[in-house]
Symmetry: C2
Subunit: 216 residues, 2 copies
DNA sequence: GTGGGCCTCCATCAATGGGTGGAGACTGGC
DNA sequence: GCCAGTCTCCACCCATTGATGGAGGCCCAC
């Protein structure tokens, strides 16, 4: 007679990846996939219904991002355990996910053995952050937070707006825009707006998806 | 007695995704996964050894990119059939993959049924490009090609270099750099270097990975 | 209430960036 | 040989950007 299985939920928007993961996990002794979700909203309803022990979660999800889902569900169910499983390793994502209460952050490049070991470890109450991820985290720790306003300005820069356009958009003077830019350049450790834009994308501060020409 | 199975190779660097895909495909009647590879170089050796009917391939691979692998293998084995299966949908990737001889371009978001149907269709000699992808292709068709030199300059811009630095790096005068920039801004349909940088990243002209601070 | 952080604005200045129009050299194709 | 495209360079000009050093108002925490 075996012990009770660990009940797992898989949240991942790419169908084939999700189905593959489920197929992989279901053949593992001691694991049972009890629920699946393809977007953030579905993740919440499925979680409430099935109360999984462990939730494997991608961060980039339609409708509601993974970070928000984790935050929300941990409010309702403080004991809930989340493992982030994603391809992206922008420092910002990592930071925000762990901040929200994820217990582990894995890249999809890891082996199946690592994944299973991590699921068991997290279920046993441990946390697990791979060294490569920890390094990124440490890096981001050294840097200062952007203020909300600086973030607004950075977002506009990434979208290719000029200082004048940003001033109009945010309804402040161009002088103020320059002040914010000067400050955020320093915090990001870069010397001009183009570097700021690529750094923001690379570090996941501004999502690449937001560039897909929304007319607004 | 069933017909002969379609012999499939899976090339994908993320272990869990690859294993998931293999698990998925192996339970399908009429398909058989005969080889796997985790990077471009391995893909070539495995292909030569197993001569699969269909190769499912991610584009972003360590050591050698998917496009180059396709190109190379189609030189050796003109009848080889490739299906690109990737998460990225930068227009440039799509274009280059089809150019190299891929028969289909699928995003990982598609359903398992679509994937299987596409494998069968491509094996039967057809091509398959989903409408969403075709649209992107059409978009990119309207735009002019960058010249090699313009591409060099664009790459430097994305890496945050100033005109002076670019001039030094490429060993040309700053005036020439400006000429190239002026020209590439027009071709990309943007008005300044920051927009050029984000457009280049978004469209996959310059890979985001190249930003990971290589000291050079 | 004092201090700190943030947001707002100002002026000034130097450096950088981008627009325009032109020109010579080299290449490959017709 | 000629044309088209590319790569290279030049000069000139104006707009934009970024750096510097202020300053006042606001709110929150101590």
């Amino acid at each position: 007679m075996t012990k009770e299985s660990i009940r797992v939920m898989v949240v991942e928007d790419h169908h084939v990846v999700r189905q593959g993961l489920v197929a992989l996990l279901n053949v593992v002794e001691g694991l049972e996939v009890v629920a699946e979700a393809a977007d953030g909203v579905e993740a919440i309803t499925q979680f409430r219904k099935h109360q999984p022990d462990i939730t494997l979660m991608d961060l980039r999800l339609p409708r509601m991002g993974g970070v928000d889902v984790i935050q929300r569900l941990r409010m309702e169910t403080p004991g809930a355990r989340f493992i982030v499983l994603t391809t992206y390793d922008g420092d910002e994502d990592i930071y925000r996910a762990l901040q929200a209460g994820a217990r582990a952050y894995l890249l999809k490049g890891m082996t199946t053995e690592e994944l299973i070991a991590t699921i068991r470890a997290v279920h046993a109450g441990k946390s697990h952050i791979p060294p490569a991820i920890a390094e990124k985290l440490a890096e981001r720790m050294g840097t200062e937070e952007l203020t909300p306003r600086e973030f607004d300005v950075l977002e506009q820069i990434v979208h290719g707006k000029s200082n004048k356009e940003i001033a109009t958009e945010l309804e402040i003077s161009e002088a103020t825009v320059k002040t914010h830019i000067n400050s955020l350049l320093g915090k990001l450790g870069v010397t001009d707006r183009t570097q700021a834009a690529t750094a923001a994308i690379q570090r996941g501060i501004v999502p690449l998806e937001s560039l897909r020409k929304p007319k607004s």
